[in-house]
Symmetry: C2
Subunit: 227 residues, 2 copies
DNA sequence: TAAATAGTGTCTGTTAGACAGTATACG
DNA sequence: CGTATACTGTCTAACAGACACTATTTA
């Protein structure tokens, strides 16, 4: 809070969201074609100014951006970091509160001309410092996947342990030990088995379906020693 | 970034700093007596508006606040989180980019009437949402101390391993195993021994002095598996 | 030489990964 | 019954903590 009453050059405050999903074993980010200047017509992160008259806080602004501009609801949302400076936006000194959002691929909105879902390994050039923001999101998601239940937010309502392990492996970019993974999931007690097993007609033993325990639905669960 | 050009109610952006130091085995926070309304005369976190005409980014604003309002320089600075909403400041919808700063006690400024250094376990009532910000800083410092070299920023230029272990223990609030701690410090290779040993006239074997390796002076070093 | 803390060697229990086995579906 | 994947039992290697021992200073 300020200790003086002097007024200074205005600072623009916006919210930017890195919306990630997992498609065909690869993390993808959702980009929006910018409607207005600057960078009109360019693919960029979904974002927008804070609406002081309707947003309860910046997280609510991010949720509103996802709802009104991307058309999704219920994504896992977590504040990432705040980016600032005179050069990141050509309009002048600006502040962007960046959020990271995770969504199962099946909850993505239907195809739209102004929405692009691209692998994070093949992003186009992004305006502002959006590339830095995406990089920060990827670093955060990868590091948190080492010791938390964060990746469950990329799975649907129910999933099998082999599926969940694959999600972890896709995010981390390295194979995990099956026995250790299942032992951890068991110890952490984040999941509960659903009555019916998944058969899916595959020519092998069906896998048990699990869902996240209600207590961890919105919150993250942490593991003391990783994995 | 915004996708529209509409303009809305203004949002105030400030920077708040949780400056922590270790005094007599206890974490202390530095509070400043507010000079201006709101909450004039009340102890609060050092903070201030961003000066768009001189600050390179919000971190520079935080460093400037520490320099001009608290009188310190060279503290370890790390962005914490951004707090926002219509209710946190009586002047209206506001955004506070919070930073956490660590400083060895010997680098604190000389006593001043408008500066108070209080144990974090005995903080007074704080205005705005400064209590939430302090709590976030403590949670961050404690969790990062589990797997990084962050506590070295609370030590002076040189220190002994028993001293450093005590800093970790004071932050974490629990005793650490001496053998394991020294084994980790050795494996991580963050420190280097200084030529002379510290005797300090104590009636026992003197301890080797260490300093942080130059590569980790400003950056943090992480440990893959904790401690 | 007694007291006090620094620093080290080694044992043991815990945890993580490798491997191989059993279970259960489909064709 | 062959194949493919789910799941489990068990061995082994790596790691962390406990304990005890040696080292070096002052009084």
């Amino acid at each position: 809070m300020n200790q003086t009453t002097e007024s200074r050059e205005t600072v623009q405050v916006s919210v930017d969201v890195v919306l990630l999903t997992l498609i065909e074993q690869q993390l993808h980010a959702v980009l929006l074609k910018r409607a207005a200047a600057p960078f009109a017509g360019v693919w960029a992160l979904p974002g927008g100014y804070i609406h002081a008259d309707e947003d309860a806080d910046a997280k609510a602004s991010a949720a509103r951006v996802l709802r009104t501009k991307v058309g999704i609801e219920g994504a896992y949302l977590e504040q990432l970091a705040t980016f600032s400076g005179p050069a990141r936006d050509p309009r002048g000194w600006s502040v962007a509160i960046a959020y990271c959002a995770l969504l199962p691929v099946q909850n993505l909105p239907p195809d739209r001309a102004d929405i692009s879902v691209v692998p994070v390994s093949a992003l186009p050039q992004l305006p502002f410092d959006h590339r830095d923001i995406v990089d920060a999101a990827l670093a955060r998601v990868r590091s948190k996947s080492l010791y938390s239940s964060l990746p469950v937010h990329l799975c649907g309502e129910t999933f099998t342990l082999p599926q969940l392990q694959q999600v972890y492996e896709n995010i981390l970019g390295e194979p995990l030990n099956k026995v250790s993974f299942r032992r951890k999931m068991d110890e952490m007690d984040w999941l509960e088995a659903v009555a019916g097993a998944m058969q899916s007609g595959a020519a092998h033993r069906p896998a048990q379906l699990y869902c996240v325990k209600p207590a961890f639905r919105q919150e993250l669960a942490l593991s003391p020693r990783g994995l």
